[in-house]
Subunit: 69 residues, 6 copies
Amino acid sequence: MPYVNIQVTREGVTREQKAQVIAGVSDVLHRVLGKDPAITYVVIEEVEPDNWGVGGLPLPEFRRRQAAP
Amino acid sequence: MPYVNIQVTREGVTREQKAQVIAGVSDVLHRVLGKDPAITYVVIEEVEPDNWGVGGLPLPEFRRRQAAP
Amino acid sequence: MPYVNIQVTREGVTREQKAQVIAGVSDVLHRVLGKDPAITYVVIEEVEPDNWGVGGLPLPEFRRRQAAP
Amino acid sequence: MPYVNIQVTREGVTREQKAQVIAGVSDVLHRVLGKDPAITYVVIEEVEPDNWGVGGLPLPEFRRRQAAP
Amino acid sequence: MPYVNIQVTREGVTREQKAQVIAGVSDVLHRVLGKDPAITYVVIEEVEPDNWGVGGLPLPEFRRRQAAP
Amino acid sequence: MPYVNIQVTREGVTREQKAQVIAGVSDVLHRVLGKDPAITYVVIEEVEPDNWGVGGLPLPEFRRRQAAP
């Protein structure tokens, strides 16, 4: 009875991509651990870039600095 | 100091229902574990059906197939 | 397809109490939201008191100060 | 490779405040545990007050009662 | 910068299986969403069966009843 | 009423370091968001290195390759 929580930034993930992530992750747990996909829950959480920090900075600012020469 | 996180699909849960869930879950932890409701946090997260996977499918598609003859 | 995560301090919760928490919380979601218990997952996480902070202190130290005259 | 999840009520947290929380928390993990901020993720989740329970009540109702004489 | 949390019951998952789950899930996010595995964190949490509820019962009891004639 | 969950690898974090992380993070939320530490919960979860993936690999293997010439 696996439960999987996936957090990604909210940046235009399409319905089709979500379906592919759900199918792919369920398949991994099936192949590797023998978990029946029928009992695997996959929850995708989309996080605003301003709410995601890395390098001590909100992601938009982090990326700006990475891109700067 | 319990912390409870409840994830359900975003499908019209009313304010009154949320209040009942919060009251009910706090009461369970009080009765069974003796936890004072004053220190129990209950956080309800509503998840878009497209972001919830089961059976290797997004929930709307999963339900369509369940309903099919 | 609710998923519930309950975090409490690891302080001697018995197997029987866990069963009662699982039954009680599943029942609340059934009564209030109409969720079939068959599809409700309840995961209990027991956290070492040293790993739980409140009032800016680990729980054991927080309690010591609360108890002091 | 720390991962930090911060849940607060959605009550007008500004972009600047989020940046300060991300910077501050990353700094704590750097100073205390020696974790390079470059590998620390901080995710802020803003929760609707109606979805946050304490004292067995949704937060707005809890506050109304606290404020009552 | 995806973060993935996978909860499964603690029932003898091997080190090799964990490595395969990590590789597989990171690959799904790479193929579908273009996320560089270098920035994808995958955290596996193993939950004691007594702490996992489904059908209103702890998992061991749930399974016993499923298996009964 | 903030709730903070911190996941780090289980690699000898001391009781004193946990106390400093709890104090430091509670202080950040107090200074930046005006949250009273009395109502801030901080939960530290220590994750086995084999259960933490990055770069598509369990952390011990990831580090071995980083260290290799």
